[in-house]
Structure formats: C-alpha cells, structure tokens
C-alpha cells in the first residue's frame, strides 16, 4: 500500500494545497483501455495533457504526490515557453506574478567583465526571460487541467511497474486503497529526471556527466536589486568556483554555489557550512540583511539524452527523456517544446489524420534539437564548472584576461535556451519558395510574433490547428478556399488567417507584410506547434494541399 505524504510541504513563501487521492474506477471492479495516460503531473506532463485536450483527446494523468513540487526547481521561463504556455492558458496568470528580465552580468574580482542584454523585439508580447517559481506554474497548470473535462488527474498514485507491448502499455499503480493495473494505447513518461518508467524499461541515456557540484539554495531576503542574472567567478570566499544569483518573486533569491572537489552532499548541506557560505556570498556583494532558508539541495550537471524518445507505445518527454545542465535555463524550457511537438502529432494520429511516420518525427526532431542543446550547454558548463585541468587552465586564463582584454569577454556568454529550428524536418514542404524570402521565419522556425495593435498579437490568434497566413488586399482565390474546405472536410484542423490592410488580421501600415517579406498571394503554412513548414511567394491550391499532407506524414498521397 502506497501512502503519499499529505502534509503540506513547508515553505517560507508558498502555501501548498493538497489534491486528495480519489478512488479510480479500476478499484471498483471496472477495467477499461485508455487512449492516453501521462505519468507525471509536473510542468511537462500537464502541458502535454492540456495540449492533447485541445485536440479533443482524453487524457489520464498519474501522479505519485498529492501536491505540487518543492525544492530547487525551474525558475526562469523563456519567451518561447511563454508563447507555449499562452496556448495552454496560463501565460497571463504567470505574467501577473513573474519578474521579467533580459540582462546578465558576469563578475570577476568585483568587476563586471561581461554584460549581455537578451534582444527584445518590439513585436514580441513576452520578455526574453521571466522568473517565477515552479510551484506556481504547476498550480496554474493543475487548475487549468481541473477545469478541462477531458483531463482526469489521479493524485497519490505511484507507478510500481510498466509493461511495454507492441500495441499498448500497462502500468502497475499503487495507491492508498491498493494496487491496480491501468492499460493504455499510448503512455507518455513525463516522470522527470529519475523516471521510474525509463528505469523499469532499462533504457540508458547517452552523454556526459560533470563532476562539479553545486548547492542550490533558495532564501528569503530583501535585496534591492533589479532582476538580472549575476554570475560570480572565482570569488575570494570560494576560490576557483562559481556562484550564481537569481531574483524570484515573493522576496526569494536563488544562490547556486559550486563546492570544492571531494566534498560530499551531506557535508555541503550541513547547516553550519550552508549558513557560512551563504553569508560569505552576501557579505561579498555587500548585502547586510536578515535571511531565511526555504530549500537547498546539491546538483551536478549532466548533458544526457535517450537516443530515441519512443519505445513501442511509450513516449518520453522532458527530463525523463533528457537531462540538461541548468546553466542557460534548459530544463523546463526544453521540455515545453517536447510537449508541444508531441501533442499535435499524437493527436493527429489518434484522430485519424496523421500517419505513424508523423509520430516518429517527434523523436527525430526532438532528439536532434536536444543534441544541439547539449552541444551548446556543454560549452557553458565547461566554462562555469571546468571538468578537468586543461579546461580549468583556459577558463582561468580567460578570467584573468577579461579584466583588460575585451576580445575574451564574449566567452562568458551563457547561451540561453532558444527554440530549435526544424529546418531538416521530413515534415517540411518539398517544393516551396523558402530560399526566395529575405525576411520572415524560415522553414522549420517558430513564427515571429507581430504586434497588430495594443494588446493584440499574432500569437493571440493561433490555436490547436494548422494555420495558413495568407497575405492579400484582395479576395482570397476560390481555388484556395476550396482546397482549405476539402482538407477541413477530412477532419484536418486547418485555419485560414488572412492578413491585409483592410481585412483579416489588421496590417494597416504593411509592417507585418514587411517582416514576413510578403506581397499579395504570399503564404506561410504553420504547424500546430507554430513552426513554419512551408512558405510561398505565391500560393496555389495544389501546393497547399501537398504541403499539408507532407506535414501530416502523408507525403506519398
């Protein structure tokens, strides 16, 4: 019998709410095959559930705990994540609480040797980076899921075992009222870095682990500084090591400090050591204020991924699929892109309009993206926590030079998470006019947001469908409207968005057309995850139909 801890977690800033276990039908003698079961009600599992529900797919979400997570979880959400979270309906709530920011500082010997401002486009609704503690994000997602009749949340239900079969998967689940078996056509593992499902199946991740260990501590303290990333290299109180500081809502600051080699997590988390080191950092930066610890843990960087995110009917997402270094905010921000990539493909397959090949592109597109992220993250990690003598020496040489030599300072760039560009995807149109465009999002890239009017942006008009952005000041040709209707009649979710000076999405001054290098007749075909899969200088009905089939993995039709 599994009894979850139903005492609200202790926190100096967040009030935990208990979501009680409820008896499932399986413990009342019913058996049923479910279409989709998601294990893990963290940010990635819940975004996947909410996205699937947008396409009319029913989902059961299994979670061992009866409350949202605690501890040193995600705090920085990128613009791309905000765009994804807007689609699942929580962006506005997040913005009411989050701290937006864009500047990062690298400090060595008391001098700011590198300062980077993440670019902010006047057409973007969201700021480059937004700080909010993960429990709030999870709470907003839970409340959104609770309102959705297609989503069933099962709290206090712990996965004990999993069986993978060619046409379905079975979960052994333990609960406060006993064990039961849950069968499903598709199982999504969103159960985090220590994924029970990954371990039960004996799947191995590939990549590198870094020996440098960090303490991550969240403290409540009043520091009158703006929200910016602060990275301190080789400070006097912690020679050779690196410290990060991030401001969070509710008067919380996160301190990450690297430990001397050979120190154990137990030694590092002993109250005396913890207090002395946090105080040393505060003393160094000249902050004399009382503080209180909320949470601390020990972390070491890993840059690893499963080589394939689909095994028979089991699909891995987020940290269950890959573990990425924290430097550069790549955990949750990468996972949201997994969720958004997976949901529409699985939904199209289940709704009978996408092929099995379509779902396979989830793994090909996301493994490629994650390998690219790992290459970038590894560069940052080697700078933040040099893994060996050679990397330490070159890093220290750069630190020393950075005080006087501007040319080395860009090496401090922390390479923040950015959306992957699916330029080589099998879902992209075979014959479009991509190469002829001089502006606008290229084949495989996510759309660039456009400010249409005050508090009115392009992304506000996107939903759970393919979209055709069609630029014209005239009427849309009947052949194109007929082609759209024919595709819609096959249950393909496809929405036409006309962009013109006097119709559709307003483009009075031609700004939108200019940014997208569009003339009358220009069109972009956009996947449900907002990535461009075809663009034409002058759209024809045949080209549109062929590109939609291509994007559904039905290229041969």
């Amino acid at each position: 019998m599994y009894i979850p801890d139903s005492t609200p977690r202790a926190s100096v800033y967040y009030n935990y709410q208990i979501y009680p276990f409820q008896t499932p039908p399986e413990l009342c003698g019913e058996t049923k095959r479910y279409s989709v079961v998601i294990v893990g009600a963290g940010p990635i599992g819940l975004v996947t559930a909410l996205e699937l529900a947008h396409y009319g797919i029913s989902v059961v979400v299994i979670n061992a705990e009866v409350q949202v997570s605690h501890g040193s979880r995600a705090i920085v959400f990128t613009r791309r994540s905000m765009e994804i979270l807007q689609q699942v309906g929580i962006a506005e709530r997040m913005l009411n609480k989050a701290y937006a920011w864009r500047s990062g500082n690298s400090i060595y010997r008391g001098q700011c040797v590198f300062r980077l401002e993440a670019p902010h486009d006047e057409d973007d609704r969201f700021q480059p980076l937004n700080n909010l503690q993960q429990p709030y994000v999870e709470q907003y997602l839970v409340e959104q899921a609770q309102q959705n009749p297609l989503i069933e949340l099962r709290w206090g239900s712990k996965v004990m075992g999993v069986t993978s079969l060619p046409d379905h998967a079975e979960l052994q689940i333990d609960t406060p009222e006993g064990e039961y078996t849950l069968s499903c056509d598709w199982l999504i593992a969103a159960d985090g870095a220590k994924s029970t499902i990954r371990q039960e199946l004996g799947l191995r991740m590939e990549g590198a682990s870094y020996s440098g260990r960090f303490v991550i501590a969240d403290i409540k303290i009043d520091i009158p500084w703006p929200t910016e990333r602060l990275a301190y290299f080789d400070p006097d109180w912690n020679r050779g090591n690196t410290i990060l500081m991030h401001r969070q809502p509710e008067g919380i600051w996160r301190l990450d400090y690297q430990l001397p080699p050979n120190e154990t997590p137990e030694q590092a988390l002993a109250p005396d050591s913890l207090n002395a080191r946090i105080q040393a950092q505060l003393d160094m930066v000249g902050i004399n204020a009382p503080w209180e610890l909320d949470w601390c843990s020990v972390y070491s960087a890993r840059a690893m991924t499963l080589p394939d995110y689909i095994k028979e009917r089991i699909i891995f997402t987020g940290d269950a699929a890959h573990m990425l270094p924290i430097f550069g905010v790549r955990g949750a921000n990468t996972g949201f892109q997994d969720a958004q990539n997976l949901a529409w493909k699985l939904a199209m397959l289940l709704n009978g309009v996408g092929s099995a090949e379509l779902l396979v592109t989830y793994t090909s597109e996301r493994v490629t993206a994650v390998q690219e992220i790992i290459a970038e993250a590894s560069k940052s990690t080697r700078f933040m926590t040099p893994p060996d003598h050679g990397f330490r020496l070159v890093r220290d040489a750069v630190l020393s030079l950075s005080l006087t030599q501007a040319f080395v300072r860009p090496l401090f760039h922390w390479r923040t998470s950015r959306p992957h560009d699916y330029h080589a995807s099998a879902l992209n149109a075979l014959n479009d006019d991509n190469a002829q465009f001089i502006n606008g999002p290229a084949l495989g890239m996510p759309l660039q947001n456009i400010c249409l009017a005050e508090n009115n942006y392009l992304f506000d008009h996107l939903g759970a469908a393919f979209h055709i952005l069609y630029f014209t000041d005239q009427i849309v040709p009947k052949s194109i409207l007929d082609a759209i209707k024919a595709l819609q009649n096959q249950a393909i979710p496809l929405q036409l968005l006309v962009i013109g000076k006097t119709q559709g999405l307003p483009d009075h001054d031609g700004h939108f057309a200019k940014r997208y290098d569009a003339q009358t007749g220009t069109a972009y075909l956009v996947r449900p995850d907002q990535h461009v899969c075809a663009r034409w200088k002058s759209l024809t009905a045949d080209k549109l139909t062929a590109a939609v089939y291509q994007a559904l993995g039905q290229g041969a039709k």
Binding site: L393, V394, D396, A397, V398, S400, L401, Q405, F407, V408
Partner: protein, 61 residues
Amino acid sequence: MSQLPLVELEAVYDALAEALNQVGTEQESLFLTKLVFLLANQVGHQAQVEQAIKTALLDLQ
C-alpha cells in the same frame, strides 16, 4: 606567414625567459595560456593557431 628576423627572435627569447622567471612556477601555466590567447587573437586565424598548438605538442620528451 611572416617570420621574425633573428635579432627580434632573440629579443623575444630573452623577454619570455625573463617573464617566466618573474612569474614563478606556480603561475607559469596560467601565464603561458594567457599569452597564447593574446597571440592567437593577433594572428586572427584559427587554423594557424591550431597548427601551432600541434607543432608545440611535438617532441616534448
């Protein structure tokens, strides 16, 4: 690639020796690594710098 005239090479020889003596063994590696970065930036060619690194790896015993 340009070459140093002998008289200039001899001057660099002396200057490097004096700097190494001044630095001492503990900071020697750090000093030399900084020097490589500075010279690499002046050379301005990745391939030439990498070739020099390879050449310096020869005959170390």
